[in-house]
């Protein structure tokens, strides 16, 4: 289907179902249950899942395929955000031109940075991208304040021209982002006994774009271009002596990946028309590195899972406080309860970063393929068990001759 193999179609379908069904899937607990705090089916949170998913998919096209570790990817997201807000200010509140502008500006910016940074590889590449991103961040905070809004961030105002739209709504407010009149913030609620499901226009807009972005990334992974990128990762020398110049390929991957970041930035401002320089800070670049690697760098679905996992922890797990923990472990004898709570507490709630750091280290050390590889390994164990049960445990595999 759509030029994909069966396996890839399945993955695409899974992502589609997950994305479109998220308002249901992320709201499994009725509001009255004590577990309701684990629901994540809120529009703004779901938007974040999807937007960071797009960001991580883009990062993965660069890092997962070519192995070039960029520590400055947030710069493109930030630049995209500014471009989007400027479109809202100058042109009008339609999200399409804003997002296109985000991608184009981020793309141009990444051509510039990529062209220079890709003259070096390895750790030097990482440090160059880091330096560029930090420089952009510092500039956005200081000299470029007229363009970026400096510390307060870039906001919409009633005086913006908006030549294709209105500067002010009839009731005197700043207009909100919309898709040909369909407002991004519009919600529809569905109440089924104790469950409340919220369907948000903005979320579905992002979700559709995620599916398209994901489809494109599958095509890139499976294309000859993707094959070249993987070849760059494993052996540039051989590539050179096959008559191929790796530079244009890596630059193309860098720019594509920068445009994905720009798209994510554009979507962010389409959901909430405000852009700040902190989005470009190097920790933000570090976050997308965490997402892609935790989920599984070089795998298709990994980055989306990683983004979802981290955003879930940041927004849900971080809210668990000591009282809630005490409620959970109330069934234990008093003394034991306190001990258990004091042992668990550092790792959740405000300490979620600690858990994240530990998980990340474990993944880098033991599971280079991230959560996806973890899932595959577990799957394999189960399959092996099944095989044994059916008595088909011959397990004859070709043994690779050692060197």
């Amino acid at each position: 289907m759509l030029g994909l193999t069966r396996k890839d179609t399945t993955i695409l379908l899974i992502v589609t179902v997950l994305a479109l069904g998220a308002p249901f899937l992320l709201n499994p607990f009725p509001i009255s249950s004590p577990l309701a705090q684990f629901n994540a089916g809120y529009p703004d949170l779901m938007q974040r899942f999807v937007i960071f998913g797009i960001f991580a998919i883009g990062f993965n096209i660069l890092f997962g395929l070519t192995g070039y570790l960029s520590f400055g990817h947030a710069a493109f997201l930030g630049v995209g955000s500014y471009a989007g807000v400027w479109m809202f200010k100058l042109l009008g509140m339609n999200v399409i031109p804003a997002i296109l502008a985000s991608m184009i500006v981020a793309g141009l910016f990444s051509v510039l940075i990529g062209y220079i940074s890709l003259r070096r590889s390895g750790i030097y590449f990482s440090i160059l991208t880091l330096a560029f991103a930090q420089m952009s961040f510092s500039l956005a905070y200081s000299v470029l304040t007229p363009i970026t809004g400096g510390e307060t961030g870039l906001q919409l105002s009633l005086n913006d021209p908006r030549i294709l739209g209105q500067s002010v709504t009839p009731d005197g407010n700043i207009p909100v982002p919309s898709l040909f009149g369909l407002e991004m913030g519009e919600n529809t609620r569905l109440v089924i006994s104790n469950w409340v499901f919220t369907f948000n226009v903005g979320y579905y807009f992002c979700a559709v774009i995620l599916i398209l972005a994901f489809y494109l990334s599958i095509r890139i992974f499976r294309s000859p271009f993707g094959l070249m990128l993987r070849a760059i990762k494993t052996n540039q020398t051989r590539l050179n002596y096959t008559g191929l110049n790796p530079k244009p390929y890596t630059l193309a991957a860098f720019v594509i990946s920068g445009m994905y970041a720009g798209l994510a930035g554009g979507l962010m401002v389409a959901m909430d028309p405000l852009a700040g320089a902190e989005r470009m800070f190097w920790t933000a670049s570090g976050e997308v590195v965490l997402m892609a690697i935790l989920g599984g760098a070089g795998t298709l679905i990994g980055p989306i899972l990683g983004a979802g996992f981290i955003k879930y922890m940041e927004n849900i797990v971080s809210k668990i406080n000591e009282t809630i923990l005490h409620n959970w472990f109330a069934f234990l004898p008093d003394g034991l309860e306190d001990i258990v709570v004091s042992m668990v507490y550092p790792f959740i709630g405000k300490g979620w970063h600690l858990t994240l750091g530990i998980l990340f280290m474990l993944v880098v050390i033991f599971l280079p393929g991230g959560l996806v590889e973890g899932g595959q390994r577990i799957g394999r164990i189960f399959r092996r068990k099944k095989k044994k049960e059916t008595g088909d445990g011959s397990g004859a595999t070709t043994v690779n001759p050692a060197e």
Binding site: I116, F132, Y141, G351, I358, F360
Partner: protein, 343 residues
């Protein structure tokens, strides 16, 4: 002229911190070939050793004084730090006052132990893995270390004063014959600079004049050959990691009075220190020190108002700009050797 000297002085203390961290980074890189993203965390831990020592020293014995009452009518509590109890009020107060310098003695073994544990427990398994993996795992470690510190010490900066004798500033301009009040410089910053210079000298002397240092230098030049000589290079490199950790930790201890320690200070310094290492030349000790001071001083020159008027924003980006230019024009950095990570 006086403004010129002032800027050089201002650049020195930051430059010292850059140089010390970069020295450790490049030492680790040159000997072990590992890119350590957790090195900034070692600097931060050093600063928190200072915090902890001053806290421990001020643990107090609380006695209720029945003769006096506080405004609520309860017996007043008088707390006396144990050190004052044991050594008498004068010496005790002196010890308390000198908590930061005292921390140096305590920090050295602690940092060496942490360094050795890090190397044996984690880093050694990454020697043969790609640099990207090394960056990632040490990046994860840095997050973990910084979160552990945050858990125990909270997220707010903790003021850690220097000894009273070094608080305040002195008129450096008047001392060297300029008009008074043109070059005012805080005492502690001068101490920091002098301290850094001593540490750097000690590290260089250690590498230059001891057998241990000789082996390490030989290992930096050609690891395989030294290994063939039957010298257990790995053991020495582990010690090298401990030494680098100690240098970073000491830089942190002494930096505590300049900037109140907080849990993310390591990361803030790390990014810049990496740039220092790259500018100086990966694996070059002299380059790291040179580039550290150079960039520190450049940064303070760029913050002069005359310069900012000329090129707005230059103070924010000067270091990055220099790094980018150096990386593109002199791939080996200022003093880098041939063959060390050239691609």
């Amino acid at each position: 002229m006086d403004a010129f000297i002032l800027q050089i002085l201002n650049g020195l203390d930051k430059g010292s911190a850059y140089a010390l961290i970069a020295l450790g980074l490049t030492l680790i890189f040159g000997t072990l070939g590992v890119v350590n993203f957790a090195h900034g965390a070692l600097f931060m831990i050093g600063a928190f050793v200072a915090v902890t020592v001053s806290r421990i020293l001020s643990i107090s014995m609380v006695v209720e004084d029945p003769t006096k009452t506080d405004f609520l009518g309860n017996p007043a509590k008088i707390s006396t730090p144990y050190v004052e109890e044991w050594f008498g009020p004068t010496i005790g107060a002196g010890i308390l006052d000198w908590a930061v310098p005292i921390s140096i003695i305590i920090a050295i073994p602690i940092m060496i132990v942490i360094g050795v544990i890090m190397e044996r427990g984690l880093i050694q398994h990454f020697y043969k893995r790609p640099h990207a993996d090394q960056i990632l795992v040490t990046f994860g470690l840095a997050i973990v270390l910084q979160e552990v510190i945050k858990y125990f010490y909270g997220a707010n900066p903790i003021p850690t004063p220097a000894p009273a004798a070094f608080i305040g500033s002195f008129d450096f301009g008047a001392m060297i014959g300029f008009d008074p009040n043109t070059i005012i410089y805080p005492y502690w910053r001068l101490v920091y600079f002098a301290f850094s210079a001593i540490i750097i000298a000690v590290v260089f002397a250690f590498l230059q004049f001891t057998t241990f240092g000789m082996v390490v230098r030989a290992g930096m030049a050609d690891r395989e050959t030294v290994g063939l000589l039957g010298i257990n290079i790995d053991k020495r490199f582990t010690m090298m990691f401990g030494l680098a950790a100690a240098v970073a930790g000491l830089a942190g201890v002494m930096y505590a009075p300049i900037n109140s320690p907080n849990y993310h200070m390591g990361m803030d310094f790390l990014v810049l220190s990496f740039i220092v290492v790259v500018v100086g030349g990966m694996g070059s000790l002299g380059g790291a020190v040179l580039a550290g001071f150079l960039l520190g001083i450049l940064e303070s020159f760029a913050s002069m108002s005359a310069v900012i008027e000329l090129i707005p924003g230059i103070n924010q980006v000067i270091i990055y700009l220099v790094a980018i230019i150096i990386l593109l024009t002199r791939p080996r950095g200022l003093l880098g050797r041939k063959g060390v990570m050239e691609d």
